[in-house]
């Protein structure tokens, strides 16, 4: 490396003399142009990255809303499991019992093992996962198969118009003692 530099310096000395001071000025101007250009390029690249990141976040969703009405408490006779909200909203609404207290509650349809959607078997009176055979009682507590914990509950309340309203944005897990929270059931 050092040899090459010496050689180029030697060959340069054979060329006609140049005004070194002037070359320094030109170099400074060119260098600062290059600097400004690279800075502008960097700024444009950064802005573009930020803008495309924002572009990737949609402002309007086409998925169903997380809060929705599921009818009046009177629509749910004791022991009834409503499955018509399963497809669209991912919820079973049930008039069942938990620790001897009669409640209406909303269970998640997602198996706690690996996330398949469970099926309500009316004859067996249990939720069954088609993937690995996990079973859950009507109250959502697991009793067979590999599922490690009960199905999750969603928030449910009586809305102003007297209808039950489920809020999928709040989850309650039995093994954490969260099912005692009155936000996740309606006493009947």
């Amino acid at each position: 490396m050092a040899d090459e530099r010496d050689k180029s310096a030697a060959s340069e000395s054979r060329r006609p003399a140049v005004d070194r001071r002037r070359r320094g000025v030109l170099g400074a101007i060119f260098g600062s142009f290059l600097g400004v250009g690279l800075a502008a390029l960097g700024a444009a690249g950064g802005l573009w990255t930020l803008a495309t990141s924002r572009f990737m976040l949609p402002n309007v969703l086409t998925e169903p809303p997380s809060r929705f009405k599921v009818g009046f408490p009177g629509d749910y006779p004791p022991g009834y499991v409503e499955t018509k909200f399963k497809e669209k909203s991912g919820v079973f609404v049930i008039h069942g019992a938990y620790r001897g207290k009669r409640q209406v509650y909303a269970l998640s349809t997602v198996c706690t093992h690996l996330g398949c959607i469970v099926i309500w078997q009316e004859n067996e009176q249990k939720f069954k996962c088609p993937c690995h055979g996990s079973g859950f009682y009507q109250d959502g507590v697991n009793f067979e198969g590999p599922a490690p914990r009960p199905l999750a509950r969603y928030a449910i309340r009586i809305a102003d118009d007297g209808q039950l309203e489920v809020d999928r944005s709040k989850q309650f897990q039995e093994e954490l003692g969260q099912w005692d929270d009155p936000a996740c059931y309606v006493s009947v």
Partner: protein, 257 residues
């Protein structure tokens, strides 16, 4: 040893850049020759090739617009669904509610500009006689690229799925009815007849293959979407590689007459 030199001599730098620092003529040439991004460029060009009044830079601008269309197009694909239910709504959503949805307008105007610049490029090449030997083959590649640019515009025109799109493609694809031999209303259609049965009918001619149906519908939308986003850009990108490489191999930008 300065900081820059230490970086240049590091194993990391040398593993990425295969050439020494471009401090002399030989290494400046090597930088261009051995770098993947730069290797399509000639190592040196003739001075007249830089004159804007000679080249108009229309080929370069066309390529730049192709890159703009590719980048904006990929981003639009994140929002656009080519189905009857969503195509038009997704297009409106890009206009009305998506942040930076103006990318769709950039894509549209870029497409218009690209058609103009590709024509002007062809006009310049014709005026300067640059299609002559040894550049005849590259002229032919260029004509194919021109047709592909027009087909990209044609297929992209259907995707907004508004009335203008649907009827424009209906009218446009009706031309394929009248193609000789392969169109069911074209001359010579009756030549392809086996045992008195027509082989070319409204359900087996060129138009049918293009639309995937007898009328413009969801099948057509899907076909044009795949043609617009995948098939034609792939062929065009390959031919562009050939086109640029041939410019260099045919002796660089042609000289002034």
């Amino acid at each position: 040893m300065g900081f820059v030199e230490r970086v240049r001599n590091s194993q990391l730098w040398k593993s990425i850049f295969r050439h020494p620092a471009p401090v002399d003529r030989r290494n400046r040439a090597l930088v261009v020759l051995t770098n993947f991004i730069l290797h399509l460029h000639p190592v040196s060009i003739k001075k007249h090739g830089l004159r804007l009044s000679y080249t108009w830079c229309m080929g370069g601008i066309t390529f730049f617009l192709f890159l703009v269309e590719t980048i904006t197009g990929v981003l639009l694909m994140f929002y656009y669904r080519p189905t009857l239910e969503w195509a038009y709504n997704d297009m409106l959503a890009l206009r009305d509610v998506v942040s930076l949805g103006v990318l769709r307008e950039v894509h549209r105007w870029g497409a218009h500009a690209m058609v103009i610049t590709v024509w002007l490029h062809m006009y310049r090449v014709f005026l300067t006689g640059s299609y002559k030997r040894p550049r005849e083959f590259n002229w032919v590649v260029g004509v194919v690229l021109l047709v592909l640019t027009l087909l990209l515009s044609f297929t992209g025109y259907l995707l907004p799925w508004d009335q203008l799109s649907i009827w424009a493609i209906t009218v446009g694809s009706n031309m394929a009815r009248a193609v000789p031999i392969l169109g069911h209303e074209g001359p010579g259609q009756q030549i392809l007849t086996v045992g008195g049965i027509d082989m070319i009918t409204s359900a087996s001619d060129a138009r049918f293959a293009l639309l995937g149906a007898r009328v413009v519908g969801e099948e057509t939308l899907n076909r044009f979407y795949v043609l617009h986003c995948v098939a034609i850009p792939l062929v065009a990108a390959f031919l562009m590689g050939v086109h640029f490489w041939r410019i260099r191999k045919d002796g660089g930008i042609s000289g002034p007459m």
